[in-house]
Every structure is written in structure tokens, then in C-alpha cells.
């Protein structure tokens, strides 16, 4: 497997080292010559001190035979151009982009980047899971973002507490399918009554969210 990594910051550097360690063929492009020289001393000749946004240098780096191009610079627009050039100019089968502004994920996907990694969204997701907020948590997006798996943490004041889970009038296009109680996944049965502290897992379209929030979280704001 030949992987072409573009961007020699921390992410590109460690990524390249890991890939080499697991026996892959790797080339790393870094346009800043000083940074390139610095990492070259450690990981050797796989480092190319050129701009991976330029078609000419991508070609020299072997983009036309790369199995994967991973664009991991700190600039979203550069990562987009790298992936598009790889895809359209060099027919690279798989392109991966790092995206800093989570809002760009949709555009990148739409423009054909195969895989999009957003550290910002990952950290955000992790923070949301740790602090008690009266919001629905987005656990995962399915398909092309048309369905989401959502978690609602039931706290005192939730209108759903004491009700039979399957009787909650969830909006159309939405389905409640599980409860996590005391850290244990619990399948929903006909007589499962929701309790304070339950985490209710639902799947639904993003436009059902408001109504679902009303049913499971309630109107209150303060913890």
C-alpha cells in the first residue's frame, strides 16, 4: 500500500512514522523547507520538501500510483485542493482530508473527498459527553447525514420519566430503540418505564430533533 501524506505538521509527522512502522510505503510532502529538513533527519528520504497543492510536485511524489492520499495540513482549503487534485488529476482511489472547521465537512463530502476527519468535531463530541447539558447528543451520522443516532440524558424534570418508553409519542421519522441504565445497555420491552438518569438512544432525521427534545428533555434549561 502506497500512502502519500501531505502536510508535515504534528499529524502528518506521526502518521508517517506509524505508517512506516506498519510496513507501508509512504511519502510525506511538506512545503516549508525548514520543517521538512527537520523531520527528514529523523524519518529519512520519504520526506519531500515541496508543496502538495501543486500538480507538478504531486506528480513527482508519485501521486499517480498512490493508493491513498491523506491531506493533513492545518488549512482546510489546502486539504480540499490536495484531495481534488489527487482525485481528478491522478485518479487516486481514496482521499482523506483533515477538516478544522466542522462546517466544511458537508462541502468536502459533496465535492467528492472520500473520508473527512474533523478533530474539532471529535473533541466537541467528547466534551458534550462529559458535561451534563440539556441537549441531545449526536452520537453518529448515518448515510449521507440524513439520519442521526441521538442520545438524551433524562434528568429531573424530564417529561419522559415514569412513562413507558414505547408509549412516548415520538415524532414521525424517529424511533427510540434503546436505553442505557447505570451504564448497561437495556433493550426496550413493552413494560420498560423510563427513570431519571437513563440515557435514551434514538434514531431519526435532524428535523425531528426539536420535537424529540421536547418529549425527552423538556423545556427547562438550568441543570
Amino acid at each position: 500500500m502506497f500512502v502519500l501524506v501531505v502536510g508535515g505538521g504534528k499529524v502528518g509527522y506521526y502518521l508517517t512514522k506509524e505508517l512506516i512502522a506498519s510496513g507501508h510505503e509512504v511519502a510525506l510532502m511538506e512545503k516549508d523547507r525548514r520543517r521538512a529538513d527537520q523531520i527528514k533527519e529523523e524519518i529519512g528520504s520519504v520526506v519531500i520538501a515541496q508543496d502538495g497543492c501543486e500538480g507538478k510536485y504531486l506528480h513527482e511524489a508519485g501521486a499517480n500510483r498512490a493508493d491513498i492520499v491523506a491531506a493533513v495540513t492545518g488549512d482546510d482549503e489546502d486539504n480540499l485542493v490536495i484531495c481534488q487534485m489527487a482525485k481528478h488529476h491522478f485518479a487516486v482511489p481514496r482521499t482523506i482530508a483533515r477538516v478544522n472547521n466542522p462546517k466544511n465537512e458537508r462541502l468536502f463530502r459533496h465535492l467528492g473527498v472520500d473520508e473527512i476527519i474533523s478533530p474539532t468535531r471529535m473533541i466537541l463530541g467528547s466534551i458534550e459527553q462529559d458535561i451534563p447539558v440539556h441537549e441531545l447528543l449526536h452520537l453518529a451520522a448515518l448515510g449521507v447525514g440524513e439520519l442521526e443516532i441521538i442520545e438524551a440524558h433524562l434528568q429531573a424534570g424530564s417529561p419522559a420519566i415514569g412513562k413507558i418508553a414505547l408509549d412516548i409519542p415520538v415524532p414521525a421519522g424517529c424511533s427510540v430503540f434503546g436505553v442505557i441504565r447505570n451504564g448497561q445497555p437495556t433493550p426496550l420491552k413493552g413494560d420498560t418505564v423510563l427513570q431519571e438518569g437513563d440515557k435514551v438512544i434514538a434514531i431519526g432525521r435532524p428535523d425531528c430533533e426539536e420535537e424529540l427534545r421536547g418529549q425527552l428533555i423538556g423545556e427547562h434549561v438550568e441543570a
Binding site: 497543492c53 501543486e54 500538480g55 507538478k56 488549512d75 482546510d76 482549503e77 489546502d78 480540499l80 485542493v81 481534488q84 487534485m85 482525485k87 481528478h88 488529476h89 472547521n101 462546517k103 466544511n104 462541502l107 459533496h110 465535492l111 467528492g112
Partner: protein, 170 residues
Amino acid sequence: MKAVIVGCGRVGAGLAHELDRAGWQVLILDTAAAAFDRLPSTFGGTAIRGDGTDEDTLRREGAEGADLFLALTEGDNRNVMAAQLGIEALGARQCVAKINDPVRAEAYAHLGITTLCRTNLMATAVLGFLGQAIPDHPGIYSPEVPHTHVDGQPHAAVAPGDVSQTTREA
């Protein structure tokens, strides 16, 4: 006619002024407020300090449905991204990106964006001045196809053609 211009450098500011004078509704964005000093005091359009590659910012400032969307910052890749946002997300009818790298300028024309390459424009001008033969691509690359993404679906919003023509029609 509505024009959105991303980047208030010399070219962006100059075009904003000209289009404004010709009666266009002009919205110009730049990340540095000082850039707007390049606009004449008579400029009647809207100048917004903001990131023209940020979809939310563009929407908030009413950049949707422009007749003309010009991406003229000093970064080739920023222009590529802004132009594709203009076409794909904001439904611009005609979109032009300044891309100074000739390879990228040509590559993105193949993807359906009109691109201006200052490098080749200058070279062409100098060759013309010297009475030499002018290359096939004088620096303006018109898309041969509508803007496409990987699934091969063309986007309806782009009309292939050269921008000078569009401006003259106004």
C-alpha cells in the same frame, strides 16, 4: 444584478468599484478591515469584514443567488474553495476564481470553474507587447463542462462561458 467579491485587494476593489458604478448590487468581503481603504469613498455597495470561505458568513451577509461570484483573494486554494462554495452551496450563476498556478488553473477549468491565471495573463501580455505568438490559453480558462463533483452529477447553476461577456451584458 448581484455580485459577490471575496478578497478586497487591488483587483477586487477595482472590480467592486466598476461594477458598483455600472449599477450592480455589490457585496465585497475581506478578512482585514484595512483592505477596504482601497475602495473609493463613493463606493455604494456593502463591504463586510469576514471570511469568504466560511459558508455561514457568506449566507449571513446575503451572498446567496448571486449573478456573479468572484474569488480574488491572494491564496489560490482559498479562491478554489470560495468559488466552489459559491457554486455548490450558494447557487451563484457564474463564478470566477483567480488561480495563479497555471496547472491548478487548468485543472479546475476541467472541473467546471472559470479560472483566471495572472501568471499566464502577464506572460501573454508581455509576449503580445513583444510581437510574439500568444499561447492557446492566454490566462482565462473557461470551463468546458458544468461544475461536476465525483459522482459525475453536473450542477445546474454554472453556465460555461467567459466572464468578460457576462460583465458586458450587464
